[in-house]
C-alpha cells in the first residue's frame, strides 16, 4: 500500500451522525483497488491515484437499482479520496463529489473522454444535496480532504469545481481565505459538466435550476411503495380480524379463503389510495390546484372516494361511505405531505406551516374514519 493511500483518512466510526447509524460506514480503501469501477492507477507527485471508469457496468447498474429500492443502500459508499478519470495532468480540472455511490456514478458516467480529477469527500454515504444540508459536505470537510490527498502538490492550479447543490454546506469565500483554493459552483446536473468545462467554467442559468420533471418526481416512488408494505399488511390483517369478528358475532361459519378474499376486497380502496398518494400525486403535481402538498393529496383522495363509492362499490352503506371519506383522503393527504421530502422546492418554514394544520386534521380524520370502518362491520 502506497504512502498516499495510507494517508487518506478512513471513515471515522465513532463520529456522531444524526443522519445515519454508524455501523453502516464500512467502506475501506483496502478493498477499493478491486472495486469494479477501478480501471487502474496513475502516478502523481504525491503517490498513485486510482483511475475510475467513465462508463457504468452491470454491477453499477444493479447496485443502483437495489439502492433505489432501499435494499443494501447502506453499503453504497465510495471511500473518500482523490480519483482520476482518463489521464489527468496537473492542470486538469478537479471536480468534487459526495461519497454516495449513486452521486459518484452519475458524475463519472458523464465524463467519458475527459481527463480530470475527482475529489470524493466523506459525506457519510449521503448524496450531495442532503450532505450539504446536514453539514457533512462542508467547508471543513473539503479542506480536510484537500490536505489529506495533498491535492496542492498534485495539481498546479487552485480551482475546485463543486456541485452547485453543495453550496448550502460550503462557503466559497471562507474556503478561498483559509486554503487558497477557489470554489467554483458547477452545474446542478452532471450531464452539463462537459459543456460547463468547455465553456470556461460558466454555468448557464438553466444549468443552475434542478429540474423536477415527471421522471424526477416518480423515481422515488418505488422506495416509498416498499416503505408502505408494512402498514399495508397491517391494514389487511386488521380487516381480516374484523371480518372474522363479524362472522363470530353472527355465529356464521368461518371459511378461511373467503375471509381472506373479503379482507383483500376491503383493502382494495386503500391499496388504490396508497398508489394515488405515492404515484399519482407526484405525477400530477403541477396540475392539482393549490400549493400545500397535503392539500393536493387530500383533493385526489376525495376524488377517489367519490369514484369508488359511486361507480365501483355498490354495497357501502352510509356509515362505510362516511368512513371512506374520512380515512382515505387522510391517507393520500399524509402521503402527499410526505412527498415534501422528495421535492426540489419545499422550504422548512413552509413544511412546518403546512404540518401545523395538516397533521392534526389528518390524525383526526383518520381516527374518525377508522372508528367508522370498525363500526361498519358490526352494524
Amino acid at each position: 500500500m502506497s504512502n498516499q493511500l495510507n494517508k487518506l483518512p478512513m471513515i471515522d466510526d465513532n463520529q456522531e451522525s444524526t443522519c445515519r447509524p454508524d455501523e453502516q460506514n464500512t467502506a475501506s480503501f483496502e478493498d477499493t483497488g478491486s472495486a469494479n469501477w477501478i480501471t487502474g492507477q496513475l502516478e502523481t507527485n504525491a503517490g498513485p491515484v486510482y483511475q475510475v471508469a467513465a462508463v457504468l457496468d452491470r454491477k453499477d447498474l444493479t447496485g443502483s437499482i437495489k439502492a433505489r429500492l432501499g435494499l443494501g443502500r447502506m453499503d453504497y459508499i465510495i471511500p473518500p479520496g482523490l480519483y482520476a478519470v482518463g489521464n489527468p495532468e496537473p492542470t486538469s480540472p478537479v471536480l468534487v463529489s459526495a461519497n454516495y455511490k449513486l452521486s459518484f456514478d452519475q458524475l463519472r458516467r458523464e465524463l467519458a473522454g475527459l481527463n480530470l480529477w475527482i475529489l470524493v469527500l466523506d459525506t457519510k454515504g449521503i448524496n450531495v444535496w442532503c450532505a450539504a444540508g446536514k453539514g457533512s459536505f462542508s467547508t471543513a470537510e473539503l479542506m480536510r480532504m484537500v490536505d489529506a490527498t495533498s491535492l496542492g502538490e498534485i495539481v498546479s492550479h487552485r480551482t475546485l469545481i463543486l456541485p452547485q447543490l453543495a453550496a448550502p454546506g460550503v462557503s466559497a469565500h471562507a474556503m478561498r481565505k483559509e486554503s487558497g483554493f477557489k470554489v467554483v459552483y458547477g452545474p446542478v446536473r452532471a450531464a452539463d459538466i462537459p459543456e460547463f468545462l468547455s465553456g470556461n467554467n460558466k454555468a448557464e442559468p438553466e444549468m443552475r435550476h434542478p429540474s423536477f420533471t415527471l421522471p424526477d418526481r416518480l423515481i422515488l416512488a418505488p422506495i416509498e411503495l416498499v416503505a408502505m408494505l408494512k402498514p399495508a399488511l397491517g391494514l389487511i390483517g386488521l380487516f381480516f380480524l374484523l371480518n372474522m369478528a363479524a362472522l363470530l358475532a353472527d355465529k356464521s361459519p368461518i371459511i378461511f379463503i373467503s375471509l381472506l378474499r373479503q379482507s383483500l376486497m376491503d383493502f382494495a380502496p386503500f391499496f388504490a389510495a396508497i398508489l394515488i398518494g405515492i404515484v399519482l400525486v407526484p405525477a400530477l403535481l403541477p396540475y392539482i390546484p393549490g400549493r400545500a402538498l397535503a392539500w393536493k393529496g387530500w383533493v385526489l383522495g376525495v376524488l377517489w372516494v367519490l369514484v369508488y363509492t359511486v361507480l365501483i362499490t355498490t354495497s357501502a352503506g352510509w356509515l362505510q361511505t362516511a368512513a371512506y371519506y374520512l380515512a382515505i383522503p387522510a391517507i393520500t393527504a399524509f402521503l402527499g405531505m410526505n412527498f415534501t421530502g422528495s421535492t426540489t422546492y419545499t422550504s422548512l418554514s413552509g413544511v412546518v406551516k403546512e404540518m401545523s394544520f395538516a397533521l392534526p386534521a389528518i390524525i383526526l380524520s383518520a381516527s374518525l374514519g377508522l372508528i367508522g370502518l370498525i363500526a361498519g362491520y358490526f352494524i
Binding site: S17, C19, R20, P21, R68, R73, L95, S97, A98, Y100, L102, Q106, L107, E110, I126, N127, V128, C130, A132, G133, K134, Q164, L165, A167, P168, G169, V170, A172, Y185, P187, V188, R189, A190, A191, I193, R208, H209, P210, F212, I219, L220, E224, L285, P286, R291, L293, T340, G341, S342, T343, T344, Y345, T346, S347, L348, S349, G350, V351, K353, M355
Partner: protein
C-alpha cells in the same frame, strides 16, 4: 421549465442591501433563482420560490443575507418532533434528492 412554488409568504429569507456589494454570488448558488441584480445590489424578486437551502447566506461574502436553513421534508420534521434520530436522508425516506444526477 416551469418553476414549482410552495406556500406563500412563509420563508425566513432577508437581505440587507446596504451590505451587498453586488458580487452576484447569491444569484449563482441559488437553485431557485430568487435573486436578481437591481442596479448595483442584489434583491429578492421571487421570494416564494425560496426553499431555505441556505446556499446564498453561506456564500455571501458580505453577510448580507439571512435565512434559517433547513430541509423542507415533513418526514424529517416529524421525526424531529418525535425525537427519533438516525432515520433520515437516504435511510428510509426519499428525503435524498437522489433523483437529481447531482453535481
Amino acid at each position: 421549465m416551469k418553476k414549482f412554488k410552495y406556500l406563500k409568504n412563509v420563508v425566513t429569507l432577508q437581505i440587507d442591501q446596504d451590505k451587498c456589494n453586488g458580487c452576484g454570488m447569491c444569484m449563482e448558488v441559488c437553485p431557485q433563482q430568487v435573486f436578481t441584480l437591481a442596479g448595483k445590489t442584489s434583491s429578492i424578486t421571487d421570494r416564494d420560490a425560496c426553499m431555505e437551502c441556505g446556499a446564498c447566506a453561506r456564500n455571501c461574502p458580505q453577510q448580507a443575507i439571512y435565512v434559517r436553513p433547513g430541509v423542507g421534508c415533513a418526514y424529517a420534521v416529524l421525526m424531529d418532533k418525535l425525537n427519533i434520530k438516525g432515520k433520515c436522508c437516504g435511510d428510509v425516506c426519499g428525503c435524498s434528492l437522489d433523483n437529481i444526477p447531482d453535481h
